[in-house]
Subunit: 108 residues, 3 copies
């Protein structure tokens, strides 16, 4: 047990069209998010119909999921930052509880 | 805070062989699920041995994860719908708690 | 309801460079983990800078996420096993609560 010290964080799973990746990561950077992971080439069916993942071409037209683990106090500023975007574009953010053992990687 | 109104939903993460994607998405459609996202080309080790993701060929032989956020009352009907399938084929469904701020995208 | 019997498990989402996949899966195998799923070709920005996913080449230089559902009693041994690794290499493990209906797939 000596090495482990669990800390609660919030996991944000941000699903949006890949062409908007830079908007999203800029927002996360400005909010102080220290790290995130991106799953590319997702397919999805949503309110605007079916988005098919094309691996070899047209990559801008597929969905991505940006996964970020953030302190709870960052959730609201980040989601407020995304709110106007999701009024216009398809996508969603799932918020959930996680635990990590190496908090230094996520907090300043 | 004015833009945010968190609502609890259940996240289903359905992992199965890609060749059964249509069965799964048809089941979700019939259950009233309004949107889902699919991660393609997963590798996995499971009870039937190791499934290796081959990106360039044989895509039907890889795993996919279908991610859907659903109201709690849909979880049981959906999982009951999948139960006979998972008696025969490999795969699993993870159920977990999430929060979303734009419930209109998930409920009728 | 007759077919469903939810059991709590812990989901581990292990994000690390793909070149270390075998180390990670060996550790999971030795810990008694019966199944896991791997998402390949992730991009990420972390403490060691931005890792871009290159689909066509240099696959060893991208991130992967290994997803495993384990009984709670396995979480600490697994994370203790990874602790020395993450002292040296980039990556993280997210731990969260999930429920499954087919526990036989995860426990011996």
């Amino acid at each position: 047990m000596k090495n482990l010290n669990f800390s609660p964080l919030k996991k944000l799973e941000i699903i949006l069209e890949g062409e908007h990746q830079e908007f999203a990561t800029d927002l996360l950077d400005r909010a102080g998010v220290k790290s995130y992971t991106i799953i590319n080439n997702l397919s999805g069916k949503g309110r605007q119909g079916f988005h098919e993942g094309h691996l070899m071409f047209n990559e801008d037209d597929v969905l991505i999921m940006i996964i970020a683990a953030v302190p709870e106090e960052l959730v609201e500023p980040i989601l407020e930052g995304f709110a106007p975007f999701f009024n216009e574009y398809s996508g969603v953010v799932f918020t959930s509880d996680i635990q990590v053992t190496r908090l230094v990687k996520f907090k300043n």
